[in-house]
Symmetry: D2
Subunit: 341 residues, 4 copies
């Protein structure tokens, strides 16, 4: 069966990274159904490697958050949806870096939440990442404390070219996906993204060995990643905001400011998805979801904030045919790939 798989590998050279969604030429054409093995660099473009590598000194603004892609999905047109299934995510190095960045993060004033106060001190924490043991180890800088947390690899950034003729920095989350920074973007998840331009122009990057909900300090345990995805093109079905499906849950991700607008977007999109797929009225869906929904925050630090609305499939009446069964097909592709590897 694995012999049927169309598996392709892409490991960009430094010149090949994309720094935006939209506005970058595709690095490859990919047919629906293909499996892509990709390397993604960390959000610092690999330049933060030790505690003395301060972001403000070693990084080359605006060349942050390099994306692997864009991939031109054959046949994709505005009004379609691209399904991206995360088959496997493996940190590519045995360490990851998290930092404070001047005037960036949730517990500091910023360029937008502008105050007269000086920025917080700039620091770099290098975490040990043990992919085999699936563990990440923290070393405090100001004391001898250490702490080991479970690894939970995810991609902070996945998206397509935006609508409205725009080109957005890879640091921005919005309706096109982008820098959503949600821990839900882990292996086993299928992300649905609405297509805005021919070929969709899919990119991904910003691997995290793990991340708390909200990405409070502005960065996760940032790491290069060896990732496998499987893609499928769903013709004639539009997706207004990024959606995620797993074996057990469906989710929508809203991105906006203030944070309550991100919440509203995600809740309303999930509600309308549930209403359309179950046949329940919008008001009945509003009621059921209000009692059943989980609302894990993604990021409260980026250009837009991102809130996820998430509900167990077991709490929904017969949502059997979401996106024509795309998730199940992609799961089968993933299983075949992993069995053959």
């Amino acid at each position: 069966m694995a012999s049927d798989l169309d598996v392709r590998s892409f490991s960009p050279t430094p010149e090949q990274f994309a720094w935006t969604f939209g506005g970058a030429a595709p690095i490859a054409r990919v047919p629906s159904g293909a499996v892509l093995e990709v390397f993604t660099e960390d959000c610092y473009a690999g330049k933060v490697r030790r505690a003395t590598d301060l972001v403000s000194e070693v990084c080359d603004f605006p060349f942050l958050n390099p994306q692997t892609g864009p991939f031109y999905i054959d046949g994709a047109e505005p009004g379609d949806t691209v399904a991206v299934h995360f088959v496997d995510l493996r940190p590519a190095r045995d360490w990851g870096a998290s930092t404070t960045v001047p005037l960036f993060g949730a517990l500091t004033s910023t360029h937008l939440t502008a105050t007269l106060q000086p920025p917080l001190p700039e620091r770099v924490w290098i975490w040990d990442v043990d992919a085999a043991a699936r563990e990440c180890t923290f070393h405090a800088l100001d004391s001898e404390h250490t702490m080991t947390l479970p690894m939970d690899p995810m991609h902070g950034t996945v998206g397509v070219a935006p609508a409205n003729l725009e080109v957005r920095s890879a640091l921005v989350p919005d309706a096109h996906g982008g820098n959503l920074d949600t821990p839900e973007m882990r292996s086993g998840a299928t992300c649905y993204l609405g297509v805005n331009v021919e070929g969709a122009l899919l990119s991904l990057g910003d691997g995290h060995a793990r991340q708390g909900e909200g990405e409070t300090c502005g960065t996760a345990i940032e790491c290069a990643m060896d990732t496998v995805i499987a893609v499928e093109l769903i013709k004639g079905v539009a997706t207004p905001w990024p959606r995620i499906e797993t074996d057990t849950h469906v989710m929508s991700a809203g991105s906006a400011r203030p944070l309550e607008d991100a919440f509203r977007i995600a809740q309303l999109d999930l509600l309308q998805w549930v209403s359309a797929s179950t046949g329940m009225s919008e008001l009945d869906s509003y009621q059921l979801l209000s009692q059943a929904v989980e609302s894990p925050l993604a990021n409260v630090c980026d250009t837009n904030y991102t809130s996820v609305a998430k509900v167990g499939k077991r709490f929904l009446p017969s949502p059997s045919d979401l996106y024509g069964g795309s998730h199940a097909r992609l799961r089968a592709t993933a299983a075949a790939y992993l069995a053959a590897r």
Copy 2:
């Protein structure tokens, strides 16, 4: 051992309910260490009992969200903390009601997010609540759909008299607690509340058979509740925002608008609690929590929005002596009570 317990029961008459935090005379004095068996009425003051009982018609504004209390905690003074342990929560009826309320909820304009649009239709959903089976069953109004969800009883409202000479409606969440509407306020949890006035003036109410994160439509599965709490007074320890401790987690609850401010408050308070109790610096605590924290939303519909910051104790270096071990003592009291019942 149970014979040592100081157990008291309070089932208010309709005239005895409190509608505010602060400004109501205590209904009883309670010593530290006591166990309280209380009845709480639902947020509608029991007036919504069937699908035709529209809130705008049957409820008597501002007499909403009746509170059982306030209890005067002997010896409590400003600067102390009251610990409230939730021993047991049991829905008092075999049904619960959830409603839309005109210009209230997250997916509607409101009196504050004011628009020219008319309100959403007003509806009432009566859920079956099977306390023995620990199940709640939804019946759609516009179709034949039904769905059964796990019961997960909680109190939407618990608090003390506020600071700054204020009296707040029981519908308001803030630093004094109040209408936090977080599903984390379930049995097994200890809630720490800073004392602002002599006797603290503790009240609780607003039982929910279950609630989604964010309370999107504005109401949960609202139900009267037979609840048992155990209280302890912690002298000389201040608590700036409501905190929650369970056997496995510690949490802070921030309430404000916009929602990012509620998030910031909760994250900073948890950070400072962790820093103080572990000896890690604030910046190291910022880093560790940024990777370890969960951020479940509580409500995005009330006068203030509430965001919870939550972290597993296993992810913290030796936070052994939180509030002098109050949670463990209250757990022992709860166990003794339940064993004796």
Copy 3:
């Protein structure tokens, strides 16, 4: 004619100040039509008198923003409106004080917009106030710069007891008025406040020799004030949010967070007032006001932010009978009082 005036004077003793709206016993009963000569203390309760009087050291929290009142307006019942006309405002001393206050103001993190950064330095600026010349003079602390600005006296705080059984700190602006901090509350203006409790319980304070729009640093040129107001009770007319009328303009003041909600409240209330008084439809009023409105910010630092929507009467079709001509009657009363003084 002046002999017909009912003129009363109130200069509170220190014990007579109110620190809240609601919850304070009235200091006098006042009939509709009366003229009140009052002394109001500054927001620091008079304790900041020189550059070394830091708020955090000399003020006695929560005893800030003392109010003169409350006045029980004879016959006022919930659903009525109290009109407060500002006849004359005169700074009572030849200086005023403005300060930074730790974690308070628009260009600093606060207890709600919580960050890890330390507060800004605490400073006190003593301005010269020359009431005869109608000038205020600034002296820079860190250089020799001075600057003289026109005096424009106003009351930061005027309000009635709030609805919903609440008692609010005098630092809070909301639907009951309170700490709106709008420069529009100057002599010649009539403020309309909806009555929530019997007697209305009107108070005022927080004089400013002048204030910029937004009160950016958190405080104006704060000064004690000798003020004259005239009050009128308007029976059977409700006022949902504070409104202001002058000879040339009508205004509404919305208070909420985030600031766009304060804006929405003010714009919608003005729109509905205009629609009701002119007979234009709501959508036509929306259109006309969108082109004609001024939107001066009041405060962006208090517990709620306040935004004012303001339109010239000459831009409105025949709004002839606003509040039954209350403003014109109060102007006549003011003229009579001033002529007789």
Copy 4:
């Protein structure tokens, strides 16, 4: 003297309009000091001409808000500033159109402030614009009311290519300028814009015969415009956010959500501009501006909201050399041009 002027005229063909800032090829190169006579089309691309031309039916999304430009300013490099002086603005037709647009505007839910409510009715108001009399006349749709307001022509949109490799829709206001929608962008004003890319790529459009502060319904009296600007390149001086200078005032325009962030940005930028140009410390500038500033809202409806911080030059100690005297030189150029016309 006028013979020295370098005057150029540009009236774009329909194919020549730009729909973005960044990402469009320049239509002309322009030297510093030139005077440009331009035609700008209205924000509907001229497609709304009568009351039955509903935006959702006649407009061709995303081809909204056509910009005249971009102009490549000779010698402009990142880190420089382009000064754009508005010499003359004259509505090009004898009517202007304002509309409601589904889910757009301040008093409606939107795609971001997402609710379950249906959109407001879609309407078109055609205003008479009498450029000679400098008057605009409103005709109510639902009644016989009419109202004439003073004309006050302005450009809603002026900007340069954004930073960070981005291309933004012409509907977006941000640090690069764009769709600020402030009535302050009228004749006599000089707008300073920081250069992000070679040639700056200056465009303008979105003429308004007049606009209220906040652009509450989402659109102004939208009109095509015959406009004259004069441009100057200021080398080696960066401008972080758009600034405006008139003969009497200096201003900064901040754009963000929530609205308080737009306010903070504008206030802090004006403060830092004042501090740098007067030599007063930042804290002294904070104090002086807090008492002297005006804070007129620009828009509370666009992708970002825009708040202006404005202060009279007479309230500032000797700000004599702002941008090296650029405004005075451009005023002289404008005077020479107008004298020669």
